[in-house]
């Protein structure tokens, strides 16, 4: 028994295909007859372009299939290994299946699963963490901030310098409550937006209207909390 390291490489180069021997032969055959046709004047020179189109497509298919096969052979984690084991066990079960439609159906399912396995994105190779870096050797990033980096709200808390009742009275006179009946009337009458703007300006002498308010303090006092609080 022997063991060796097999390095798997894929390369796809624009306008030039340098792949394994098998596809290289197919490429040479493709180019040879096209060159011959053009040189003999049997086909326009532009037909040479089809070499690139056809062989690039072949190269890409080659890469997809061989990369998928390598990923199937060389699993990167336990989940992948378990998935492969299930697939192989089901394939063995298929071998024991008799003939007819059941066998055909099982075969179709196996092919679909194998194809899906081949086409799923490659799992990143995990490396042991390097000192001062993460598992992929990148420099360690600073810890994320406790809050997301979106613009933060700035809380304004102002010492009113007066009593709760005094400030509340002054505030509620400056910012009147919404004239809900009038607004409902405007909506039901389908008035122009200009009319809504005008009516709102009358309702909001300092630009603001109170939409609702709640005397939270009197409720919270039932729980033993002191201090008036009014949300407005």
């Amino acid at each position: 028994m022997w063991k060796s390291v097999y390095r798997f490489h894929t390369r796809s180069v624009d306008r030039f295909g340098a792949r394994g021997l098998n596809s290289g032969v197919a490429g040479a055959e493709n180019a040879a007859w096209k060159l011959a046709f053009v040189l003999h004047g049997w086909a326009p020179e532009a037909s040479l372009e089809s070499y690139h189109q056809e062989r690039l497509a072949a190269a890409q298919e080659n890469i997809t299939v061989t990369s998928g096969t390598m990923r199937f052979l060389v699993r990167q984690n336990d989940d992948e290994r378990r998935a492969r084991r299930r697939l192989l066990e089901d394939a063995a079960q298929y071998q024991r299946t008799g003939t007819g439609r059941l066998r055909e159906a099982r075969r179709a399912v196996l092919v679909r699963r194998l194809r899906a396995d081949h086409h799923r994105p490659a799992t990143p190779v995990r490396r042991p963490p390097a000192p001062g870096g993460d598992a992929n050797g990148r420099a360690r990033r600073p810890d994320p901030p406790a809050e997301p980096p979106s613009p933060k709200g700035v809380r304004l808390s102002i010492d009113t310098g007066v009593s709760f009742e005094d400030f509340r009275g002054r505030y509620e006179r400056a910012v009147p409550s919404l004239d809900m009946d009038r607004l409902a009337l405007l909506v039901s009458a389908q008035v122009s937006w200009e009319s809504v703007v005008a009516a709102t300006a009358e309702n909001a002498p300092h630009g603001f209207i109170r939409y609702w308010s709640s005397d939270v303090g009197s409720l919270m006092r039932l729980a033993g909390d002191s201090g008036p609080v009014r949300r407005i």
């Binding site: 709200g153 010492d159 009113t160 809504v196 300092h206 201090g227 609080v229």
Partner: protein
């Protein structure tokens, strides 16, 4: 508190602005008996939608809030008008 005709000018860009319109405000008293008025600075809330047209209306609300504080004879936070 708020103003639906101003809210409309943001709503037209993104109806999600109604998350912050009208503004939430609170009048509250601490244990020392000091009465506070609290509100989040409008522009900093409306800027979170990432739309300059909305943010600009938010700044307009900042200015209106500063005017209201002036009228109520309470200190106007410096960054509200800068």
């Amino acid at each position: 508190m708020g103003n639906h005709t101003i809210a409309q000018r943001m709503y037209t860009h993104d109806p999600a602005v109604m998350l912050y319109a009208p503004l939430r405000t609170a009048i509250h008293e601490d244990r020392q008996g000091v009465t506070w008025f609290s509100v989040d600075q409008p522009s900093t809330r409306f800027a979170s939608f990432g739309n300059p047209d909305i943010t600009n209306v938010g700044r307009e609300l900042d200015a209106k809030l500063a005017d209201l504080f002036g009228f109520l004879d309470v200190p106007v936070p410096r960054h509200l008008v800068s």
